[in-house]
């Protein structure tokens, strides 16, 4: 296989880069070992930062976030719910931080509006009685799946190609250049080679591992964060705790749910991570100080991701920062030509935020195009990203609305919790079939809301699997294995929340799939 630019990693950064390069007329292939957003891009808070969170710990990143927030609201409105955000302090929070907050925001050019505690509670009745200070900022909620899928679709329209479940295993380097990249198709275990003029490492927290294969050293901190999804939406706006960033201090609404988080724990590897029970307890205890009803509300799922934090960029003494909160949220763009390894056609882009993915893509594409002698300029700053039909079903509440309007009885619901009808599953499965691929349950759930409601896949998994076979999307004996894999994945997010009705649901899932169907045997 040959291409101009090979991009490793189809997260927010890789997909945004694929779009940027394609718009400049550059041919590229995205190689992703999992699926789109398999890494941090599929496991974050979905907060389009105003920048206010980083004004003290990282003013440069704060200003970047603010600028990108403005741009994305114009170019990607279909992925954004412009909720606005609040920063609130409760009794006992650091008074100095509160007093300095508006000034620091202004210094970074971030708009901020002071509110009285009563005004804040009028806007968000769930807030605690003990709120002592509040400010309004430009935070918004962004759907990370739709973001990446829309960028990807746009890139594909312009000729970019995506290889999912393909892992980059090694590079062949000769004369200071990567002459070819070895890739394994994880489904068939077949190896093949891709020749590219430039290779971009956009592997997020895995960037160090990829770089090492080209003889380059990058030091990364793997900073794990866990989050919890509530069954119902708790607030209209994003709510941040007004203090130095720490655990359990952000609540972000998204469609019909809210997401509460997060934690920050250094882990030894970006793989095999789980949301832990002690993290859940911390998030709950901290979050309910700000919004008391978070202690009683129902949760449907927990998940976690690893932030890619390049370790070169500490801005304080690491001994004083055991949880990496003070490591820069800025991005790191490395031209490996200028590094000791001197590989001329290899570039790494890592770190940063979801919020800044477009900017990271722009800077990377500038560097890549420089290497290729391409003069075309970046178009993503102003040109809107088309609202892709394929990426329509990720946001909570969308499929139901479409179903009620369009088809009611004609289109049976396969997922009853989130009201995902047959036609949506069919569209997704068709888009896979068009690329000669099989859509499993996990892939469908990434692109829709299936399995994301209270039953967490207990019922819809069987219905959708039966449907896929019926329609001929699946025909081998892998269906039960796919069912197992999907339920295991759902379980990861259920297990730490298994108390109260969470435990009842977990019991129902196991009773059905082990008690009756013996999937564990």
């Amino acid at each position: 296989m040959q291409t101009c630019v090979l991009i490793i990693g189809a997260g927010a950064t890789g997909t945004a880069l694929a779009r940027d390069l394609s718009l400049r007329g550059t041919d590229c292939i995205l190689v992703e070992k999992g699926d789109v957003n398999a890494g941090a891009s599929g496991a974050n808070h979905g907060l389009l930062h105003s920048g206010a969170r980083y004004i003290v710990s990282d003013p440069a990143a704060a200003a970047e976030c603010h600028a990108e927030n403005r741009i994305l609201k114009k170019t990607l409105p279909q992925c954004i719910e412009d909720t606005g955000g609040l920063f609130v302090a409760v009794q006992g929070d650091d008074e100095k931080y509160i007093a300095d907050f508006p000034g620091s925001c202004k210094k970074c050019g971030i708009p901020v509006q002071p509110l009285s505690p009563d005004q804040a509670r009028d806007m968000e009745p769930a807030l605690s009685e003990h709120v002592i200070a509040a400010f309004r900022v430009d935070d918004a909620a962004i759907d990370p799946f739709k973001l990446s899928l829309d960028n990807l679709c746009c890139a594909q329209e312009h000729g970019a190609r995506l290889l999912c479940r393909h892992q980059v295993t090694s590079f062949e380097i000769s004369g200071g250049r990567i002459v070819c990249t070895h890739v394994t198709d994880l489904k068939t275990n077949k190896q093949f080679r891709i020749e590219a003029q430039v290779v971009v490492n956009a592997a997020g927290a895995w960037a160090d591992i990829i770089a090492l294969r080209a003889g380059a050293q990058i030091r990364m901190h793997y900073s794990k964060g866990s989050l919890m999804v509530t069954q119902n939406r708790i607030s209209q706006m994003v709510i941040n705790r007004l203090r130095m960033p720490t655990d359990g201090d952000i609540l972000v609404p998204g469609g019909t749910v809210s997401i509460l988080g997060t934690t920050s724990e250094r882990v030894a590897s970006p793989d095999f991570i789980h949301p832990e029970i002690h993290e859940i307890d911390t998030i709950l205890d901290q979050g309910s100080a700000m919004i008391p009803k978070l202690a009683q509300t129902r949760y449907i799922r927990a998940y976690c991701g690893v932030r890619p934090l390049p370790a070169g960029s500490e801005i304080t003494n690491p001994a004083r920062d055991p949880d990496d909160r003070a490591v820069s949220r800025g991005y790191e763009l490395i031209d490996h030509q200028d590094q000791p390894e001197q590989v001329t056609n290899f570039v790494t882009i890592t770190g940063g935020k979801l919020t800044t993915c477009r900017l990271m893509a722009e800077k990377t594409a500038d560097l890549v195009c420089g290497k290729l002698g391409i003069k075309a300029v970046c178009r993503t700053r102003t040109e809107p990203v088309p609202d892709a039909a394929e990426a329509k079903w990720t946001s909570p509440g969308l499929a139901p609305a479409a179903w009620v309007q369009e088809s009611r009885c004609k289109d049976p619901l396969l997922c009853e919790c989130e009201m995902v009808p047959e036609s949506v599953v069919k569209k997704i499965a068709d888009s896979f079939a068009a690329n000669h691929q099989q859509a499993g349950l996990k892939a469908i759930s990434l692109r829709s809301r299936i399995g994301k409601g209270p039953c967490q896949g207990t019922f819809c998994s069987m219905r959708i699997m039966a449907y896929l076979y019926d329609q001929g999307y699946m025909d081998d004996r892998n269906g039960t294995d796919d069912l197992r894999a999907f339920l295991r994945e759902r379980w990861r997010g259920q297990q730490p929340l298994a108390w109260n009705n969470g435990l009842t649901r977990a019991e129902l899932m196991e009773a059905m799939h082990c008690g009756l169907f013996c999937l564990e045997l």
Binding site: M465, D470, W499, A506, E510, C514, E520
Partner: protein, 429 residues
């Protein structure tokens, strides 16, 4: 609480209308005892048409049990805390035969071999060991074992039962399975098993269905369907449909809640009151009071209508988390009616394994009420908490019915033991 104020006096109160509660009522009926029973019958809906006794042992090794009785003896030796270990095997057999006999008399016979588990196909395309299968399902055992040529029918518009999925995933075990999708006579776009089953209780619809199936028969030796072969007249529906097609027709167990649950529920709800049980189906026990001088008083019902029932003794069959007998918050597991001590893992971290399908199962499923050999809940020193309170069913500690494949059998057997112990207590006082 003063005994006089009660609206109803009885000897034995049975709390719960799941499989354990229903079996307990059946065992206690006809013994000159005044019996009151309360619970919500929703839980019975989970019956799958398969009665498990012990299908897998040891659990961690996932070994399928051929003959449940020696395996139960083995389990009794290695797991003394297991409810089965507190009974004689002959009692377990009696209990199960009694309940199966009752279903048979009620017109919904189960098929089983005394000393052998059956291996059944499921709607997930897996196989499941069980002890007894509803007559509507039983033929699946032989058909699969003999790799019979079998036509597997699903219906346009019936979700969650895919003949292609089942056939593809069972292909190795059962190559003779041939999937086909047909329309259900006079159906709309979306089908549900219950109306389909009711429709098949009429001769006209059976004939129409047979007409729809017939063109696909070929050289098939049997026809498999989702669970839709009638509700209260399953024998007639199965026989006549088999007659029309000229080959045996049988059901494959589907996602629950399903038809088998509705059948069993209707049978219990009809027969238990006829046998003299004063039953409050769809009512819960809201509070339990200890009476001075022994015995219990229970508030039964909802806000609008509360009854006070006094009882000399009680059997609690209130199930686990799904049934409502146990409740968990972040700090631990509680029993919901009497706040009885619950045997449980030390902290929440050890409740569940990270892998849903981990071979050993999850520790939290072994939490529950520890009991003595009279099936009285005990405290952490092993002493009975109350002399007149007994427990049965899945609320009991020391078992993992989901992994052992012992659900209904365990509920039935322990109900038998608990009722017998309660009877002894009542005889003495």
């Amino acid at each position: 609480m003063d005994n006089q104020k009660a609206d109803i006096h009885c000897d034995l109160m049975i709390i719960g209308t799941g499989m354990a509660g229903m079996a307990a009522a059946l065992f206690a009926a006809g013994q000159d005892l005044d019996i009151v029973q309360a619970g919500r019958t929703g839980q019975l809906g989970f019956a799958s048409g398969l009665i498990d006794v012990l299908g897998v042992y040891p659990v961690a090794r996932g070994r399928i049990v051929k003959d449940p009785w020696p395996a139960i003896a083995d389990l009794g030796r290695h797991e003394p805390a297991h409810p089965y270990a507190k009974m004689a095997i002959r009692e377990i057999q009696t209990a199960i035969e009694t309940v199966l006999g009752f279903f048979g008399q009620a017109g919904y016979p189960y098929v089983y071999k005394k000393n052998q588990n059956m291996i059944m196909p499921t709607a997930a395309g897996t196989v499941k060991p069980t002890y007894a299968a509803a007559h509507t399902m039983a033929h699946g055992q032989a058909a699969m074992a003999q790799q019979e040529a079998c036509l597997l029918v699903d219906f346009k518009g019936l979700k969650g039962f895919g003949s292609r999925m089942i056939a593809a995933n069972l292909a190795r075990t059962w190559p003779g399975l041939r999937p086909v999708t047909i329309g259900f006579p006079e159906a709309g776009t979306e089908l549900h098993p219950e109306p389909m089953a009711r429709a098949l209780e009429t001769a006209r619809m059976r004939e129409k269905l047979a007409e729809n199936i017939a063109p696909h028969l070929g050289d098939t030796a049997s026809v498999a369907l989702p669970a839709i072969l009638g509700i209260s007249r399953t024998q007639k529906v199965t026989e006549e449909l088999s007659g029309l097609l000229g080959v045996p027709v049988f059901e494959i167990s589907t996602m629950v809640p399903g038809l088998a649950g509705i059948r069993i529920k209707e049978i219990f709800q009809q027969h238990l009151p006829e046998m003299g049980i004063k039953a409050f189906f769809q009512h819960s026990v809201r509070r339990a009071y200890r009476q001075t001088g022994g015995g219990w008083a229970f508030e039964v019902g909802d806000h609008s209508h509360l009854r006070l029932v006094s009882a000399r003794a009680a059997v609690v069959c209130s199930g686990r988390f799904l049934g409502g007998g146990l409740h968990a918050d972040r700090s631990g597991i509680m029993e919901t009616i009497f706040t009885l001590p619950v045997a449980q893992p030390p902290d929440r971290d050890s409740w569940h394994h990270r892998d849903l399908l981990h071979a050993g199962g999850h520790l939290v499923n072994r939490a529950g009420l520890a009991v003595d050999t009279s099936f009285r809940p005990v405290d952490d020193k092993g002493r009975p908490v109350w002399p007149d309170l007994f427990a049965a069913g899945t609320i009991l500690a020391g078992q993992d019915w989901m992994r052992e494949k012992s659900g209904s059998g365990l509920s039935i057997a322990t109900a038998y033991a608990a009722v017998r112990a309660a009877r002894r207590f009542l005889d003495k006082t």
